[in-house]
C-alpha cells in the first residue's frame, strides 16, 4: 500500500461518524446456484417454477406441527383410531386426509409411564414432514444427531426434559424408508378437554420426544 490515503474511493464511508450504512450482503453462492439451477431446468421444461412456488407456500403456510398435533389429539380421544395409528401410521393419517409423497412408512411410537421415545436422524435429517412440517435447526445439528444416541438422558436433561432413571429411553433413528412420530402421554387433568383443545397442547418438541406435553394451569376447568 502506498499509504497516500488515496486508496479510498469516492463516496466516502465515514465509518463511525454516525453514518450508519449497511451494504446488503452479496448473494451467497448457495442462493446463486439454486437460482441458476431452477432457472435452467425451468427453461428446459423439466420443472415448473410455479410448482416450486406452490411447494414453498405449502410448507410455509399449511404444513406444520399442527397437523401432527391433530393426529395425537385424535388418538387420545378415540381408542380405535389410536389402535389403527399404532398399527399403521400412514394409513391412519390418510383417514384424516394427511399424507403425501414424502413419507413411505410412518411408525408411531407411544410414550408411557415407563417408556419414553425420542426421534433422531443420525445420518442426515429424515423427519416426518407430512405431519410435523420441516425440522427445527437443532434437529439437523451434528450435536443433536450424535449425542442423542451416545447420551440420550443427559442430552434430554439439557434440553429441559429430566427423566427419572427408571424410565427407559428408546431412541429411534429415522431413515428415508421409515419416519417416526412420538405419541406423547396425555397429561393428567385434561379429561374435560375436547379434541381441539387437546391438540392445542401438543407441541412439535413433544412429538419428536424432547419434551412432554405440559399440563396447562387452567386445564382442569
Amino acid at each position: 500500500m502506498s499509504g497516500s490515503g488515496h486508496d479510498h474511493h469516492g463516496h466516502d464511508h465515514g465509518h463511525g461518524l454516525g453514518h450508519d450504512h449497511h451494504e446488503p450482503p452479496a448473494k451467497p453462492w448457495q442462493a446463486v446456484r439454486t437460482e441458476a439451477v431452477e432457472s435452467l431446468l425451468h427453461e428446459l421444461g423439466i420443472v415448473d417454477s410455479r410448482r416450486v412456488d406452490e411447494i414453498v407456500a405449502h410448507y410455509e403456510e399449511k404444513i406444520g406441527p399442527k397437523t401432527g398435533a391433530a393426529v395425537v389429539a385424535k388418538a387420545w380421544t378415540d381408542p380405535a383410531f389410536k389402535a389403527r395409528l399404532l398399527a399403521d401410521g400412514l394409513a391412519a393419517c390418510a383417514e384424516l386426509g394427511i399424507g403425501g409423497p414424502e413419507t413411505e412408512y410412518l411408525h408411531v411410537v407411544e410414550n408411557g409411564p415407563s417408556v419414553h421415545n425420542v426421534v433422531v436422524c443420525t445420518l442426515c435429517s429424515c423427519y416426518p414432514w407430512t405431519v410435523l412440517g420441516l425440522p427445527p435447526a437443532w434437529y439437523k445439528s451434528s450435536a443433536y444427531r450424535s449425542r442423542l444416541v451416545r447420551e440420550p438422558r443427559a442430552l434430554l436433561a439439557e434440553m429441559g426434559l429430566e427423566l427419572p432413571p427408571e424410565v427407559e429411553i428408546r431412541v429411534w433413528d429415522s431413515v428415508s424408508e421409515i419416519r417416526y412420530l412420538v405419541l406423547p402421554e396425555r397429561p393428567a387433568g385434561t379429561e374435560g378437554l375436547d379434541e381441539a383443545e387437546l391438540a392445542a397442547l401438543v407441541t412439535r418438541d413433544a412429538m419428536i420426544g424432547v419434551a412432554r406435553v405440559a399440563v396447562p394451569s387452567e386445564a382442569g376447568r
Binding site: 450504512h21 446463486v32 431446468l41 442426515c124
Partner: protein, 128 residues
C-alpha cells in the same frame, strides 16, 4: 457441550415450518418438484444428502440452517450432475449473470438511497 447450548433457543421456537433464508426454501421445494416429475426419487436424494453431510462432518459440523442447507444444495448439484441433468457450462454462465445483476441492483439501491453527501434520501421519487 457448548456447541449444542448455542442451538437451544430454537428448541422453544413456536414454528418449525419456516425457512431461515429464501434460497433454502427454493432449494428444498425445487428438490421436491424434481422428484414429483420423476427425475429422481427422494430416496436417491436422501443418499446424496447423507453423502454431503458425511463429507462435511469429517472436518466440520452442522450447527445452523446455513450449514445444513448448504449440504442440501451440494447434494442436489451432485445428484443432477450424476444424472446428466445439469449443463455445467450453462450453470456457470447463468451464475455469473445472476451475480452481475445482483451487484448492479445493489449499486442502484445504494445510489438511489443516498444523496451526493451520502445522506439517506427520504423523499418521493416522483410526485404527480
Amino acid at each position: 457441550m457448548s456447541d449444542f447450548r448455542a442451538l437451544l433457543p430454537t428448541v422453544d421456537a413456536a414454528s418449525g415450518s419456516s425457512f431461515a433464508e429464501p434460497w433454502m426454501a427454493r432449494a428444498f421445494a425445487l428438490t421436491l418438484a424434481l422428484s414429483e416429475r420423476g427425475l429422481f426419487n427422494l430416496k436417491d436424494f436422501q443418499a446424496a444428502l447423507i453423502e454431503a453431510v458425511g463429507r462435511h462432518e469429517k472436518a466440520g459440523c452442522i450447527a445452523d440452517e446455513t450449514d445444513y442447507y448448504t449440504r442440501w444444495v451440494e447434494a442436489l448439484s451432485a445428484l443432477l450432475r450424476a444424472r446428466g441433468l445439469l449443463d455445467e457450462a450453462g450453470v456457470a454462465e447463468l451464475e455469473a449473470r445472476i451475480l452481475v445483476e445482483a451487484a448492479a441492483r445493489r449499486e442502484h439501491q445504494h445510489l438511489a438511497a443516498r444523496d451526493e453527501e451520502g445522506r439517506l434520501r427520504i423523499a418521493p421519487v416522483a410526485v404527480a
